[in-house]
Symmetry: C2
Subunit: 348 residues, 2 copies
């Protein structure tokens, strides 16, 4: 029943192409809908402040592996990844709804653990759980979260408003979450080969924590406010620096020049990449799931942030005709390409 004439594989479009394809006929009808599909969150002018709404669907076997992800951490992370989108709009999260689909493989105690993590995140980020749905699932665990936030109209940071000469900045460091995942996957393989083996994760606590219990950068939002810096565009890094910067460039109709040597990588992530025979910079560019904030600022704001250890200025925005470029340490120029994690290539 799901086939008509012809057949186009979804993997041919990729996630963003698919969203674009599926939503291209939807025109906004209400004056309350200011920004629809295509940014980190939708903007609704409900009156006074602007309301932002964002949603994520997390599927077992695609987004998480319960072999090594404790349910408490999963619940926490599920909230965090949504709030990260709210912060990327420069908004303050207010409410979340949480829906879960569960098979009879899960006991009440298991769900309790999941909701402990959700509760913990709600407390930490001061958001209210205000709704949701629960359902059976014939196979794995499904988590669907919607988050709502508020922001002053003149402070919204879209993806589409970066301008030529703006500086490209990123918070924290990158690649850690991806390398943490590689360790967990390796330990899983070892465990499957020999269930008596004990995982030794002590040397990689930071990057494993980046994978299992990421935080959304509300502190960065507060800091930017304190420094009186309003980003000209912003996005959170969920798919990887390359992929997410390309979103800004495409939607702002600009190019970019990113300097490899400026990309922030933690010592632990760097060492772990070397151990895995991976390029640390590639891990930082394409790893994803770091939930740092990637934003552009006016050059005139440079002095306000340049000395802050939490920010790295990694390049600048160029005219669209110059393309999206990565300048290596050896001064070679490469095209920046999105090799981010693609939900439609995995497990298919």
């Amino acid at each position: 029943m799901e086939e008509t004439q012809g057949r186009t594989e979804i993997s041919e479009l990729g996630e963003f192409g698919l969203i674009k394809y599926l939503t291209k006929n939807f025109e906004l009808q209400n004056v309350t809908s200011k920004v629809g599909v295509g940014d980190d969150a939708a903007v609704l002018e409900l009156s006074g402040k602007q309301t932002v709404v964002t949603t994520d669907l997390l599927m077992e076997g695609i987004h998480f592996d319960l072999t090594y992800v404790p349910l408490r951490h999963l619940g926490y992370k599920a909230i965090v990844v949504n709030l990260s989108d709210v912060y990327a709009m420069n908004a303050e999260p207010q409410q979340v709804t949480v829906s879960i689909g569960i098979s009879n493989r899960f006991s009440l105690e298991a769900l309790h653990e999941l909701y402990e993590g959700i509760h913990h995140a709600c407390e930490h980020y001061k958001v209210d759980l205000v709704g949701g749905d629960t359902s059976s699932s014939i196979s794995g665990l499904v988590i669907s979260i919607t988050a709502i936030g508020l922001v002053d109209e003149n402070k919204i940071t879209l993806r589409s408003t970066a301008k030529e000469h703006d500086l490209i900045c990123v918070s924290g460091d990158l690649g850690g979450a991806y390398l943490g995942l590689q360790i967990l996957e390796r330990e899983k393989r070892l465990f499957l080969e020999d269930p008596n083996i004990q995982p030794n994760l002590e040397d990689q606590q930071y990057i494993i924590g980046r994978q299992l219990k990421p935080e959304a950068r509300n502190d960065v939002i507060e800091l930017l406010e304190k420094l009186d810096v309003l980003p000209t565009s912003m996005i959170d890094i969920s798919d990887g620096l390359s992929s997410d910067l390309l979103h800004i460039c495409t939607q702002s109709n600009v190019g970019c020049a990113v300097y490899e040597e400026k990309i922030p990588i933690s010592e632990e992530a760097y060492q772990q990449a070397i151990k895995f025979n991976l390029d640390p910079v590639t891990s930082a560019l394409n790893g994803g799931e770091d939930y740092e904030l990637l934003f552009t600022i006016k050059q005139s704001d440079f002095d306000k942030i340049k000395d802050h250890p939490d920010f790295s200025v990694i390049g600048h925005i160029t005219d669209a005709s110059l393309g999206t470029k990565l300048i290596t340490k050896e001064n070679n120029i490469h095209d920046l390409t999105a090799q981010g994690w693609n939900a439609f290539k995995k497990n298919q």
Copy 2:
């Protein structure tokens, strides 16, 4: 990993018990959160009007069977069931977000059909699709929808505000969607036995339509406004009249008396129940998925609605001590019990 000490089966609690259990520690933290979990939708005071938010998770094999549900209808219905919750708050839907999880069994053309249905519903009900997420699924199709609506603060109709002596009203007729489903299930069985058989559904177009392409009763909301009737409580009938009326009674801390002979049943549904050796009234009480509105009004409003063909007054609200009762045609009194469709008993 999902087991700790002991194990409580989720089916022991049922859906509502589970929601209550999981959310009991979540206290509202923001002044913008007026009503959280527990009604048809959450109420957020974002300023001026109140915003309502509701969400539903639809899982293949649990909520729908693609053997006989065309994807276009599924998309339409997925929106409708959410909007029905918004109308049940007496609110006007504004936006929806739609997330889907899909296996590689689905082609782009199939998803196009699904989104055609979604689009059609958005146009018909004048709501904007403003966000969503798409993901792979290792098994069936998953659809998660969040709907947002607006309502004047003094017009919100909660489940918790019915008062003794109020009249219990229902729009349209009941049981049709359930009986339509029984026909579709029968035809599926016949088809599986003999794939050459042609289904003959022509005599049951109305009730099959009630199952496959339900509408949300925005016309009822408009009509009540025109008649100057503000319900004292309201809920949409998704689980069945019994189950949903019990929600009103429990949350309003009242009892009820419902008269069997007053329950509206279409001629087609009635005849089909007889053919299936089912009690038409039981089908109407427990069938669910009719998406009619169940509401209570002050006795003083009775004259305003009594002659309207779209409304049936089926009973009245009593003191809690009198319990929740069904009075049969033979004047016997039975306890009204929730035998509505339970997502956690199905397929487990």
